[in-house]
């Protein structure tokens, strides 16, 4: 007779041991197996424990500022450590503006690249391009920042910002001057370059997961190659592509070094793309090591907590969407 777990526990006069729930297969093993189960179980559990420690530590350190400012912390527009005024809105604005601009640039490029690689490119061309985008993903953020400071920003200033600011910028606030160079625009462009590899890699994966039968059916009905791609393949993969885009957003929101080096680091809510700004990550990188008084530290901790919370929500949503498409494509 096979004892059901409850009975086995009752016979031994104890509840089923913890490791039996962790790794059911090991519960009946000998001492060494049970020790092994406990060991790797402990390693497994250490990850959520580390995660909880991060939440508790950052949350605890942020608490004084949360209590002192409340919701006004998020809506406040003045950030002045000297006079003890802490409003995070300029940083939230800068983060959102640069990330959304990055998505605006990166999404058409990444989806186009992904379609090109899955539907059009011959193998001899697809392989090196894919290798190239993988290299882009491996370049450290600080190297992007260096390149952006000395190559991208001067180019943007002289070829994009100055001509635009001097022409349509006079009537359209979004392109109003003066053209400093370091700006939301520069931040958005460098972020776009940095997230393209991730968005295109995941998009390519979900596009490739669309069943061949769907494509063949479309072609058999007389669709052109593009009609098949755009009206059949892409809609099928849309939830996964949205997941890929949100994943890219998650990276853009948390990206620190490159954006700190080019966004200008001025905590203001500006209406022009050419104006300098600051992001949640950049203010942390700039001020944290020098923050000495307690409220300044707690305010910075609150920004870290906010950034932490936003990226967790964004990443969870993205994972869920990508996971769902993979599940569907796998059938």
């Amino acid at each position: 007779m096979q004892p059901v777990p409850e009975q086995a526990g009752a016979l031994a006069g104890a509840a089923p041991p913890f490791y039996a729930r962790l790794l059911p297969g090991y519960a009946q093993g000998n001492l060494s197996d049970r020790t092994y189960a406990l060991t790797i179980g402990a390693f497994g559990l250490s990850i959520p424990i580390l995660f909880a420690l991060i939440v508790i530590r950052v949350g605890g350190a942020a608490w004084p500022a949360v209590r002192a400012f409340g919701a006004a912390f998020i809506t406040g527009t003045r950030w002045d450590p000297v006079s003890g005024e802490f409003g995070a809105l300029p940083f939230i604005f800068g983060t959102m503006a640069s990330s959304l601009l990055a998505l605006l640039i990166a999404v058409p490029l990444s989806v186009g690249l992904a379609i090109f690689l899955t539907e059009l490119a011959p193998r001899w061309l697809a392989a090196p391009i894919q290798f190239g985008t993988e290299l882009l993903a491996a370049i450290p953020s600080v190297v992007y920042g260096l390149w952006a400071i000395f190559v991208l920003v001067p180019w943007l200033r002289s070829s994009i910002q100055e001509p635009l600011a001097n022409s349509i910028g006079k009537s359209i606030g979004l392109f109003a001057g003066p053209a400093y160079g370091s700006s939301i625009l520069a931040g958005g462009v460098i972020l776009a370059i940095m997230i393209v590899p991730f968005v295109s890699a995941v998009s390519r994966e979900v596009l490739a997961a669309v069943p061949v039968a769907q494509r063949e059916a479309a072609l058999a009905l007389g669709a052109t190659r593009w009609e098949m791609t755009w009206q059949i393949v892409v809609p099928y993969a849309v939830p996964g592509i949205i997941g890929a885009i949100i994943l890219g957003l998650g990276r853009a929101l948390g990206e620190t070094m490159a954006i700190t080096m080019v966004i200008g680091n001025r905590p203001e809510v500006a209406s022009s793309l050419f104006a300098p700004a600051a992001t949640m990550a950049s203010v942390l990188a700039n001020e944290f090591a020098e923050a000495s008084d307690d409220m300044h530290l707690a305010a910075l901790m609150s920004i870290a907590l906010l950034l932490f919370g936003i990226t967790i929500i964004v990443n969870s949503v993205a994972r869920f969407l990508v996971w769902r498409v993979r599940l569907r494509g796998g059938r």
Partner: protein, 288 residues
Amino acid sequence: MSAERMGSTPRDRRRRAMSAFWLAMTGVAALLTVIPLLLIFFHLLRAGLGSMNLAFFTSVPAPVGQPGGGVGNGVLGTALLVGLAALMGLPVAIGAGIFLAEAEGGRLANGIRFVTDVMNGIPSIVIGIFVWAWVVVAMGGFTAFAGGVALALMLIPMVTRTTEEMVRLVPKELKEGALALGFTRWRTTLGVVLPAARSGILTGVLVALARIAGETAPLLFTAFGNPFWSARLDQPIAALPVQIFQYAISPFEDQHRQAWAASLLLIGLVLAMNLVARFLIRSPFRSR
């Protein structure tokens, strides 16, 4: 191919033209994403190569504002920090990866898997702040040890997930065969399953080490940086990415030159590790 069947009414001709146009646009998109890569490498080589000499690798930074000096201490510091992170992070990551592979379904395992993925998405600067609050405050100052902890925390979720996937790729028959021969479960895992997954896990480890070697943000308030030679774990330590950052935002021409050279060096290191990892993935010995 479908051109003959589609006929040549004006509508069909327009559809064919649209198809050709949009497909060409995807090619343009592909081209536009490759251009920054080429530009970055071009500028790195042009600005960095000339500044590389023996002194650049073997000496410490010159006093601020003076030309000369090198990033030898940063190379040593980065090697030390990455080694420290590997020492602390890899056992946890590989152990947790084996656990996830063995526990497969189950609500607890799925929960841990999800937390691992979420942790992978935590901005590195937040990791740095957490380690500051946790280790730096406790130790009373910036230390190499704290830098190692920060990098280890970034390493763990990455390596855990690749280990899990590589262990899962090992054929079930191999494991069942070993169990049928009377191996205990732990001997099966450590003696049969892990060796079969070895090169895959090593690949994941190398890619993750390459990534943390280039991290700057979590080191800003943990390892902090140090202009002198130091290999002490209880003192601040230099790191190549932090030096690049400081040189890049400094006003001195000579430091900009060194930032390019240091970036070229860092990229070389990172890409070499990635290339070795790619070679391992293609190795015929991968899953015997």
